[in-house]
Amino acid sequence: MALAQARIDLTETRIAAYDLPEGATWANEARHTALTRLRAMGLPTARDEYWKYTNPAELTAPTAPEAALFDMGTDRAVFTDIDRLKIVFVDGVFDPDQSDDLSLEGLEIARLSAVMKTDIHWAMELYGHLETHGQDPVARPLAALNTGFATDGVVIRATGKVSKPVSLIYLHQSETSDAVLHHVIRVEEGAEMTLLEQGPAAARFNSVTEVDLAPTARFHHIRAQGRDHARRAVTHSFVRVAEAAHYKSFTLTCNGVLIRNEHVIDIVGDNAVAHVAGAALGDGKRVEFHHDDTVFVTHRGEDCESRQVFKKVLRNGAFGVFQGKILVTPGAQKTDGYQISQALLLDEDSTFLAKPELEIYADDVKCSHGSTTGAIDEEALFYLRSRGVDHSTATDLLVLAFLAEAIDEIQDEMLRADILAQLDLWLARRRD
């Protein structure tokens, strides 16, 4: 079907706003193919089914809307005390001075910009490939845009059990920056690594992370999306999970005028595990808050387990969205799929919209999904207060209790404690 002229114009204007980087033949091809695909799809508009609850206009506009910088004051940044390999990007550009030496036993790390100029590189079989694969059955044009124009990012290959996490730190220093980052990660058989991501990144941020897990590989992903109120972001994770591999992802979001996190997970081998979780805390008091988790998990292997656990705490007109799907293909017997999305509304001004979906073509599977929207449990609140806990502390305790199922998806105790410390900060700010 031909695209409407308005959509073509929107797409062409956005494409025209960027320079197409030149690189090795395979890289140029990947970029051109991505733009061809993008032109065929067109950039999304609010009329698209998958953008019904989140207006993409600010993500598709030719230039990034301005975003004020945020001063954290004396608050400690997340992951500060974690022993990690730091890779710093400032407004979407790698900063070697602030980054650690890119070497760690069991890891090969390179800059995307360098890899894209290398004639032969293992990443050429992944760059844009997992993204392309993830366009079916739901189009994700902003990811194709990313593959076409990404100028920076990291390319990581894990070959053993890596001793400390790789930590991507996204600093935001320009009020008009428009960052497009693309990461490619391959975890080899038996290897295991943890990826940390933190920070707002830019006034507008578009990221694609392609993760390829070989059989028995393990990948842990913990994200804290920063606190800059005014920034916009769309992030995509395209994940391929082979036999007996484990993928575990957790994202914490505090603030953000518009954030869409997409997860596209393809479980291709047997006995594999994929968990994706998120906790979003939104306060629309000073600046709007709109948060959207869009997840698509496909089961192709037998005896696999997937979990989606998403919790949102919303107040002062904050807006939360969840679109989650579990697709079980005909051969994927003994699938164990679980999906829960819940919102705790701290007032009557906030909104949560959820679209949980199951599509099952195998007959021997266990799949469940649930979605709830509710207020603080008054009975529990009174019970706590009758024991001497003041209203505010009691509310905090119930908020943390509500988030617990998502937080518990973080396996590492120190990282979990660190994320909890960030939650405490948010709760303390709530009282201001």
């Binding site: 449990d377 008054e378 009975e379 529990a380 009174f382 019970y383 706590l384 207060r385 009758s386 024991r387 001497g388 806990v389 003041d390 209203h391 502390t393 009691a394 305790l397 119930l398 943390l400 209790a401 509500f402 988030l403 617990a404 199922e405």
Partner: protein, 251 residues
């Protein structure tokens, strides 16, 4: 200790009057029991005293150690020394029982201007108290009341009471849902807390709880009023003849 005078209470939404002039004084060191048929206002009295929403006091007063409590927030009443053992203890998924106990204990201490209890001291204290109530480590770790049996919930209420050491304890139908053994265990827990400085108000339908927790004074409540007050023998009379005679007498 607890002084209730001419207390009139109605339901906030419906405006229906539940308590129609309750007069009751519980002295330190004494156990008072309130008995009465369903719908007589016993539980409402306990909720109003502990500060639950949904009730409107239209007349009268209630004070704890001379301090008017009806205007206080529920947490302030707790800090002042009031404790309600719930008829239906609330389940709080996600909040560990230990966290709950420690938060409550320290919150009360803070409101009273006292230092917080250290983690080590708290642990020692809770283990000691839990042991006498036969509450095992597993139960302490679980989320508050989640998946607890009826008996476990009631024992957990008494554990909270033992930890918080309130001055005035109100037990709202603590015997409901308990088998004979659990009733003994809970009663022993309550009896262990009896001392000269503490008052108790035990609300119950049945005499059997009062076999274990021996009251000094028994009140009969009906239609929002205390209609008769007497010694422990009054409870036995109810057990034998039911409420009908007493109600007829009152009219």
């Amino acid at each position: 200790m607890l002084e209730i005078k001419n207390l009139h209470v109605e339901l906030e939404e419906e405006g229906k009057q539940i308590l129609k002039g309750v007069d009751l004084t519980v002295e330190a060191g004494k156990v008072h029991a309130i008995m009465g048929p369903n719908g007589s206002g016993k539980s409402t009295l306990s909720y109003v005293l502990s500060g639950r929403d949904g009730y409107r006091v239209t007349d009268g007063s209630a004070s704890l150690l001379g301090e008017d409590i009806l205007e206080m927030e529920p947490e302030a009443r707790a800090a002042a020394g009031l404790f309600l053992a719930f008829q239906y203890p609330v389940e709080i998924p996600g909040v560990g029982n230990m966290t709950f106990l420690r938060t409550a204990l320290n919150a009360q201490r803070k409101l009273r201007g006292e230092d917080e209890v250290s983690a080590a001291d708290f642990l020692k204290l809770v283990r000691e108290k839990a042991k006498t109530l036969k509450i095992d480590a597993e139960m302490l770790k679980r989320p508050v009341n989640v998946g607890f049996s009826g008996g476990e919930k009631k024992r957990n209420e008494i554990l909270q009471m033992a930890m918080l050491e309130p001055k005035m304890c109100i037990l709202d139908e603590t015997d409901s849902g308990l088998d004979v053994d659990a009733m003994k265990l809970v009663s022993d827990g309550v009896n262990a807390l009896r001392d000269a400085g503490r008052g108790f108000l035990v609300i119950t339908h049945y005499q059997r709880l009062l076999d274990h927790i021996k009251p000094d004074v028994v009140h009969i409540m009906s239609d929002g009023r205390i209609i008769k007050t007497g010694g422990p023998e009054l409870a036995l009379e109810v057990e034998k003849n039911g409420y009908a005679d007493l109600l007829a007498e009152a009219v």
